[in-house]
Symmetry: C2
Subunit: 221 residues, 2 copies
Amino acid sequence: MQPNFTVAEENHIKAIYHLQQLSGKVFTNDLAAALETRPASVTDMLKKLKAKKILHYEPYQGFYLNSEGKKIALGIIRKHRLWEYFLVEKLHFGWDEVHEVAEQLEHINSKKLIDKLDAFLDYPRFDPHGDPIPDSNGKMAAQQQVNLTQLDVNQQAEICAVASQARGLLELLKHSNIGIGTKLEIKRRFGFDQSVEITIKNQQTMMLSHQVAQALFVKII
Amino acid sequence: MQPNFTVAEENHIKAIYHLQQLSGKVFTNDLAAALETRPASVTDMLKKLKAKKILHYEPYQGFYLNSEGKKIALGIIRKHRLWEYFLVEKLHFGWDEVHEVAEQLEHINSKKLIDKLDAFLDYPRFDPHGDPIPDSNGKMAAQQQVNLTQLDVNQQAEICAVASQARGLLELLKHSNIGIGTKLEIKRRFGFDQSVEITIKNQQTMMLSHQVAQALFVKII
DNA sequence: TAAAAAATTTAGATTTGTCTAAATTCATTT
DNA sequence: AAATGAATTTAGACAAATCTAAATTTTTTA
C-alpha cells in the first residue's frame, strides 16, 4: 500500500518531477523558486521525502525522484490533467482559467473517484493545454510537439500546448487572442532579441518575445 | 469579502451547524463526539471561530453559529451535496459510497467551480440521500420527511433520507437491501426496545432496531 | 590556489491543529 | 448549602510546514 502524502509533500513531488524531466537532477534553489518558497523550507521537505524513500538526495549534491517517487508524481499529474479536462469539456471553463482549481482538485484522494472520472470523460489522452494524461498505470502518450522557437520562416503550425502556467503569460496570450488550436505562420525572426513575427488566422500580425515563443508548443501543419 | 477558512475550521463549522439544527445550542462534548476529537481541541477551535466573528460563544455556556456562520455552513453543505449528486448521477457511485469523497471535495474553494457544477447538474434540489441542496444564496427546499419511528403500524412509506452517515449503518442498510427509494410498511412495534418490524417491497420482513429506525426518514405514501 | 560568491543546510522561531493532564466551573443531590 | 460529579477550560506539549538569520559547503574567479 502506498503511504499517504500531505498536500505540501505532493506539491513538492510534482514540482521535482517537472524539473527533473528537464535535466535529470534538481537543485534546492530551483525547486524553491518553482514553488515560491524558501530554500531552507525545501531542504526540510527533502529530508522527509528521503525518509519516505521516494527521493535520491545527498546534501549539497541535488536530488531526484526514484521510480516509486515518479509513480506518485504521475498519479498527481493524472489527477490534475483529468480534472482540467473535466473543467473545460464538461463545465465549460476557459482553458486558461482551470489551473488554480485543478491545483486543488489534484489532491483529492480516491482511486475510485479518479478512475470513474476517467471513464466518464471517455479516457481522454490529452488535457486542454495539450499535455498527455497518464493512464491508471502511469503510461502516457508522447508529446509530438515542437517549440515555436524551432520553426522556420513561412512554416505554418497550430498551437497545441502552453508550457508555462505563469499567470502573466496566460493573460498576455488571451489578450493577443492566442490559444490552443490557434493557427499561425512564422513571418520573420529577429536575431537581436530572438523575437518572432507571426500571423494568426491569416490576418492579424504580431510580435512575440523569445520568452513567449519558448512557452508555446505547436504541431506543424 | 468572506474570510478564508481552513479545512479544520470548515469541518467544525459544518458539524456545529448540524448540531444546532437539532436543539439551537451546541455543547463542547457533543461537538467533540461528532468530530471524533477531544473536548480540549474543540475549545481551542471555538476561540478561533469566535475571533472570526461567526460564532456566539460564552465559556461553559454552549455556542452557536451567528447568521454569518450559518451562511458559511450552508456554502459547505451546498458543495458537499452537489458533489454527492455528481458522484452518483454522473460517475455512477453507489449512494452509500459517496460520503468520504464528498467530505474531501466540499473543501475545494472556487465559487465559479461550484456554480458551474450546479448548472452542469441542472440545479438539483435534493442530494442522493434525499437532503435538500442549498442554492447559491443559501436557500434550500424544506424536507417534508418523517422519521420512521413516528409512523403508525400499517402505514406505508418510502425512504428518502438517511440521517446518519455512520459507516456501520450504511453497511447494515446495504446488507438488508434498504436504500433511498425503498418502499416499506410498518408491521409491528415492540415497546420493549422500541424496535420495529417492517416489510420491504411487500415481501421481505425484517426487524429494525430503534437506532436504525431513527436514522431513516421517509415520505408517507 | 586562496579568496569571494553562490548555493545549501542548520538552528531556532512561528502558526495551526491536535493531544493529555490538571484545574476550574457548573449542575445535582443529599 | 456543601459535596460530589460532570462538563469545560487551561496549561503545556508535539508534529507539520513554514520562515529568517547564521553557518557551512561547493563553485567560481582572480
